[in-house]
Amino acid sequence: MFTFIIRRLLFLPVVFVGVTLGIVLLMQLLSPTQRAASYVTSPQQLANVEAIIKRYHLADPWYVQYWTWLREAAKGNFGYSKVAKMPVLKAIGERFPSTVELALAALLPIVGVGIWFGTAAALNRDKLIDQVTRVMSIVGWSLPTFVLGIWLLVIFYGALNWFTPGQITGKHAIELANEIANGTFHRYTHFLTIDSLLNGRFDIFLDDLKHLVLPVITLAAVSSAQIMRVMRSSLLDALGQDYVRTARSKGLAEVVVNNKHARKNALIPVLTLSGFTIIGLLGGVVITETIFNYPGMGSFIANAATQLDYSSVLAGAVFIAIIVVLANLVVDVLYGLVDPRIRYN
């Protein structure tokens, strides 16, 4: 297991170089003028394109640019993010906690709803609840996030105005800014939910939760559908296995058999899938965050892309790649702990 972890960690530099070099090489398809375009945001700057190319070394050969980037990155300087208006690293530091917050908030309903309905469906095979679950899962699975998100906004925001996009309402934003500025609100963790609780600000905590509702519903509708299906089929599989039949023939109560024997084993594939789900969520839910204007990694990269903010795209992409590799590793290790049949070799 130790060597397994080491080997996976050794893959990190490969990912780092692979992703960054790939992007830098891809950028060589652009002429210096095209690369300068991201600096030209008002017509007045048009006249300064030559000077901008010179000032920001946009005409240097790729290996010089890449080397400069690597050297600066080694010093912890990943460039300046034009989208976030701050150093890229700081921007990621602000955005990533929000993404984690959203991912964790979404995980609970995704897994909970998925397991509950999946179990109910399997235990009541071909009854009403099973049919409902199957329809729900196939419909949920077919709802693209950008369609569902827009529809939810039209109803719950445009018409009913129950939930608003973003992360925090203006009223709390102004309070928060004042309190952070004069030191009465400490940002212990940069996770808004945790920080607001630690500071005893339940109003901000609730406000933050309220903003999570629609994105979480959107994510849960799609992802819990998959868990539902897997839970249902693997529980059905388990119920047909010998050990379950044996347990049942021993005269154990149905509830005990289902819960202790069948369900426990059926959960293993669900855990695997949950692992993939959380990895997917951590990788930045681009569309959901964009629709709900939620300041996480996904909307950060999407904005950076549409506004040609190359340094944000570069650093953001490599950051996500590394997070995904690490998250995969953690999931694999946990999986091994849960399922003793897995051997790392």
Partner: protein
Amino acid sequence: MKRVLILVAVAAFAMVAFGQSAKDTFVWQTFGGVDTLDPAMAYDTSSGTILENVYEPLMGYKGDSASEYAPRLATGVTVSQDGKTVTYTLRKGVKFQSGNDFTCKDVAYTIKRDLVTNNPASAIWFLAQPFTGSAANASDALGKDATDADYAKYWKMIDGAVTCPDDYTAVMHLHAADPAFLAKMAFPAAYPIDSKWAIANGAWDGTEATWRKYIGQDGHNTYLNDHASGTGAYQLVSWTPGQRVVLKANENYWGGAPAIKNVLYQIVDDQNARILALKNGDADRISLGSLSALSQVEGLPGVKVYNRNGDLGWTSVTVGAVSMNEKIKADNNPSIGSGKLDGKGIPPDFFTDVHVRKCFNYAFDYQAYIKQVLLGMGNTINFLLPPSFLGYDKNVPEYTFDLEKAAAECKLAWNGQLWSNGMKLVISYNTGNLQRQTVADILKSNLEYLNPKFNVEVRGIAWPDFLAAQRAKELPVYISGWAPDYADPDNYVTTYYDGENGYYAAYEGFNNAQMNQIVRQAATETNPEARKLLYSQAAHLAYDLAPYINLPQQRPMMELRSDVQGVYLNPMYSGQFLWKDISK
């Protein structure tokens, strides 16, 4: 500090207790985002909005006027006979928000720092022109082979740009007279910064020993990028990039403490959210990204749309034009088809024939554009200069939509060959700009209606490709826009009509000796009446030459809660009005 704390706590409490619309709080929700708070780096309207409330000009604009000046940090200004020496008398007893006294050394430091750094992505270039005679910074102006002696000489020029005979007199020494100098000094880059505070926090120390390290400096990673110490009515509480700027009133402001005590400048990229916030009173002012959203705002209770029907007389200072390139790149250009007048393309010099340009001018449906795209809220212009500017002559004729005249001109073009052979033309716009796309679609539709042999393709190009193609002169027809840096007609007229010095004119190959001469004469003419006459002449000539299709302007409007008092529009302010002038 303690008093401030209590104030903030009280304000915060008041907001919690009484809902959002506290009497002394102003919330403006907008989109985009503040780029930097360093006046030497800022070049976008969001940054400008914050800076113009935190820092102050020497001579500012008078109320809503873009041409009259009023004393701010200076109590008066005199310009020498030759226009090369400008003397400001500074206000006494003014303190920066850090507590430092404001004196001439701050003025001198600010200007010199601007001239030293002059980052190419910043606005300093037009400020540098009158002082050094060049828009570029020292290293760009001197070139690669410059010696230490060249740099020393350049430093002398920068060092001598502003002198301080005493603490409250600042003298500017210009390279050449510049009628736009006062206007340029009203741009935030020239607003005095707190030199003592800046130097203490790692900015250039003002000496010759270090200046070369700061040439072209990108201010984004410096202390001044996210801190501010001005003399203005508001001081920075916090800036969370991409999300919000919080400011509070400067209680020690020399002009008296303002009525609005707290300002929240909030970035809300979702237009619907902004509209709802305005509706609920969570925002006192919102920016609308698109005109069409007006239908969602109009009629909301407690909301006032200013200048909805043009009743306040506000006019736009943004102009837009369709460029018709007279010197299209001939080789290897995917945008001109066959490169001949054979119906399968256009020749590179297609637009040198004035009849083609006139034909196109008649073929654009100005009223349809105003009615449908601008939803009726727009006006035509006869010259690429906003009507509110000095020199705009409303008696100059303008082109109207007239397909018969268009057909007549197109029949005359290229000795009738255009009409008989037809053409295949590409109109380009940068993708994402829907108004420009619609302009192209309207023109296409009408041109194709004129003659079935006219084949027009509207091509959306991503911004980097658009920029590169435009600079390579590959685009035959494209749509451009211009907004002012400083309130001087020359800022527009040179750009569009000076065939050698104007950015758009040079890139579209429009070069007319008579026009160049008029424009240059007007640029240095210090007598306003004479200048007006020159611009009128230029406008008449532009009508005859028809180098551009002048696009109608969109009427400026503002959407605020109706309890906000004292709203006005000064087109030269990024935020249209100063927060110190309003109340609730």
